[in-house]
Amino acid sequence: MSETLTIAPVTKSVHVGCEIERAFRVFTTEVGTWWPLDTHAIHAGAVREVVWEEHEGGEVYEISNAGEKAHWATVLTWEPPARVVIAWHVSPDTPAPTEVEVRFTADGEGTRVDLEHRNWERAGEAGAGMRDGYDSGWDTVLAPYVTRLE
């Protein structure tokens, strides 16, 4: 078995009917207003807020109703309102997280948002230690078999 099995980056584009500054702010600082926290959070269904620190090296994390903090990501690039890159840690021990890059471009009356979620191969063995709080979809995505499937 020598076939190469990797997961190509996920790329998405969406057009939103608001100016670029707002598009950027809602995606980042106000992520808690639209992210599906009932299903895709470490304290799924019991998240009080999501904090996005607005600088490179900043942290993105959730705070549960009970006041517990749980890490989501680290900000790698912070270039409002045009671009943001975060290192999405699948586990606190992951040395090489996946990356999500989001680019914002003024487009007519609104803004085009281009997203790329990449480096699945790098999730590494830590994928096996995924928190139980994520729903099965994340479990699927980050299961160890994305790691050495090559």
Partner: protein, 96 residues
């Protein structure tokens, strides 16, 4: 799709991936569950499109199904589609 939600099942998939085509008996020696349980897990994995079964004579051999990756991709695509649809509504909603 939660075929990989079970740690034993993930371990079995890893074994299949690492060893190539493998029979149930060979796999059962590497996990702390009974042979019928291994068979059950393999059926779930097969149902999810993650492994496939071929027959060699009377033996059933299991191997990783590369098409299973297609399903992972489909899940990821769907996740971001849903999330971005919600984002669009939030961004276009009234100013907070």
């Amino acid at each position: 799709m939660d075929a990989l939600g079970d740690p034993t099942r993930r371990r079995i998939l890893e074994l299949v991936r690492d060893t190539g085509p493998a029979a149930v008996g060979a796999l059962a020696g590497h996990v702390p569950v009974s042979r019928p349980a291994v068979s059950q897990h393999l059926r779930v994995l097969e149902g999810a499109g993650l492994v496939r079964c071929t027959r060699q004579g009377t033996r059933h051999l299991y191997s990783v199904d590369p098409d299973g990756l297609t399903e992972l991709r489909a899940w990821l695509d769907g996740f971001w589609d849903d999330a971005l649809a919600r984002y669009k509504l939030a961004a276009e909603g009234s100013e907070r």
